[in-house]
């Protein structure tokens, strides 16, 4: 990852911008049931294999700043939500994520199924996701 950032930097003039957008490492995807009367959080998905990649990406960004190739221009977090109508759409959503895919913590998928079985009419599923944007400027 450091090599990729260095190589990109070699093709950028001083003042050029390098932008990294990636999933937030600590704000994990949150699956909730949205009922007419409110939101019921069910599970934060886990993805330990991917977490290590995100840690490596963060370390690489820090490293190229420390090496003097770039300066940090800013970091910004952002959340977004997907609304789904049923469990089949949730399966599709999770399958669309490139491996390694997130998974439910132990017992949480069963809890989702139980809660969904007894949902009020008009309920939906929601997945809240988070991204972090890091902007570096070429020295």
């Amino acid at each position: 990852m450091v090599h990729a950032l260095r190589r990109a930097g070699q093709r950028m003039p001083s003042g050029g911008s390098l932008i990294s957008i990636r999933p937030h490492r600590t704000w994990r995807p949150l699956v909730s049931i949205i009922t007419p009367s409110g939101k019921v959080p069910v599970a934060r998905l886990i993805n330990s294999a991917f977490d290590s990649r995100l840690s490596a990406a963060e370390a690489a960004l820090v490293r190229v700043v420390q090496e003097g190739h770039f300066t940090l221009a800013g970091i910004q977090d952002h959340r977004y939500r997907a609304r789904l109508d049923n469990l089949s759409q949730l399966r599709t959503y999770l399958e669309l994520i490139a491996p390694p895919r997130p998974r439910f913590p132990a017992g949480r998928r069963a809890r989702l199924l139980n809660l969904w079985e007894s949902r009020p009419r008009g309920s939906q599923l929601e997945i809240a996701e988070s991204v972090v944007v890091t902007a570096l400027q070429r020295c």
Binding site: R7, M12, G16, I19, S20, L61, H78, D85, E129
Partner: protein, 103 residues
């Protein structure tokens, strides 16, 4: 099932471009996009960008991007199979390098 076709695990269209443009404009810029995949993000900003080199190691994804490019008539993007590590160190400079979901 049309509703199923609308499902995406990525942010809504336009959100990432708005986030990027909090730090730098993409309008008229020479852009290197690393890990462009099928061009999902590329086609969102390309209409206002200058020249774009969009690379990805996955040949199937680049072929999808090229098909989409032909349909959308986006002439200012060069999609290439490859990795940034193999990018020649010499060549025209890029104003912006984007690593979207690829670092």
């Amino acid at each position: 099932m049309p509703a199923e076709l609308d499902i995406s695990a990525y942010p809504p269209d336009g959100m990432e471009v708005r986030l990027i443009e909090r730090f730098t404009t993409l309008r008229g810029r020479r852009i290197l996009e690393v890990g462009c995949g099928d061009g999902r993000l590329t086609f969102q900003y390309a209409p206002t960008a200058g020249l774009v080199l969009a690379i990805d190691p996955d040949r199937a994804s680049i072929e999808e991007a090229l098909d989409q490019q032909a349909r959308l008539h986006v002439p200012n993007v060069a999609f290439r199979v490859g990795s940034v590590e193999r990018l020649p160190t010499r060549g025209a400079p890029f104003d912006v390098a984007l690593f979207s979901w690829s670092l």
